[in-house]
C-alpha cells in the first residue's frame, strides 16, 4: 500500500461519523438509506462521507441497481491500526523494562553504599 493510501485512510478515519459508518458496516452490508437513518443526515450528506471512505479504499459499493449496498473493506483499516499498535507496544514494553531496571537500582542502592 502506498503512503498516499495510508494518508487517505487516516484522513477518512478522522471523522466520527465515518467511523460510526464503518462500525455499522462491520455487522454487514447496508444501503445508503440504512446508513443515513441513525445520523439524522441527508442522503447527499451521507453519500459525501461514503465517497471519502470509498476513495480511501475502506468500503466498496455494490453494483446492484439503485441501492448500491456498501461493504467494509478491512485491509487498509487494519494496516493503519497495526502501525499505531506497533508503536504503542514498543513503548509499553519499554516501560515494563524501565520499571524493572529502576527497581533493580533501588535494591542496589539499599544494599550497597547507598548515597
Amino acid at each position: 500500500m502506498s503512503s498516499n493510501t495510508l494518508d487517505s485512510t487516516f484522513a477518512a478515519l478522522a471523522d466520527p461519523t465515518r467511523r460510526e459508518i464503518l462500525v455499522r458496516l462491520a455487522s454487514g452490508e447496508a444501503s445508503v438509506k440504512e446508513l443515513a437513518e441513525p445520523f439524522q443526515m441527508s442522503l447527499p450528506g451521507v453519500s459525501k462521507h461514503l465517497k471519502v471512505l470509498e476513495r480511501a479504499g475502506l468500503i466498496s459499493r455494490g453494483r446492484v441497481a439503485q441501492s448500491r449496498p456498501c461493504r467494509l473493506e478491512a485491509r487498509p483499516l487494519k494496516e493503519a491500526a497495526d502501525w499505531v499498535e506497533r508503536y504503542r507496544r514498543f513503548w509499553e514494553e519499554g516501560f515494563d523494562r524501565l520499571e524493572d531496571y529502576l527497581q533493580e537500582i533501588r535494591r542496589e542502592g539499599e544494599g550497597g553504599n547507598g548515597r
Binding site: 467511523r19 499505531v84 508503536y87
Partner: protein, 165 residues
Amino acid sequence: MATGGDPRPEELVVTRVFDSPRELVFRAWTEPERVRRWWGPEGFTMPYCDIDLRPGGTFLRCMRSPGGRDFWVTGVFREIVAPELLVFTDSFADAEGHVVPPARYGAGPDMPPERLVTVTFEDRGGATRVTVRHAGLPSGADRDLVRHGWAGGLESLSGYLAGAA
C-alpha cells in the same frame, strides 16, 4: 484512561508512573549505559548506544532483536529541559548513523521517515509520571480509532478485522 494533557488526534500517547525520583528516571532516559539496560521491546538488547545530550545533538542506538536482527535508530534532540522534558526525532539508520528509508527494515512504504517523540517527566511526590507522545503519523491520523474502536470494545469491528488478518 487518563493521559498527560490533551493528546492531539494525530499523536500516540503512552503514559506510566514510575516509583522513582524524577532525576533518576531522566538519567535512565539520557545516559547510554542506563538506556541500554531497558530500551526497546521485551527480549531486545542494545549493543550500541551513543547520546550527545544537547539541543541539536544526535543519538545513535542499535537494538538487537531476540532473533539477532539489528535495528539502528538515530535522531536529533530538539529540546532538552532536565529533568522535565525531552523532544527528539526518531528515524531508522545504518550503522554509521545515516538515516535510511524505513523500507530498509521491512517497515513498509507507509512508515514516515521521521517521527517526533516528546517525553515529559512530572514529579509526583517522589514518583515520576512519564508521558511519551509519538507524532509523525500521516496528517489526519486518529488514535481515537484505536482507543475507542479496539480497546473500547467495538468487538464487531475488531473481530471483523481479526478475520481479515
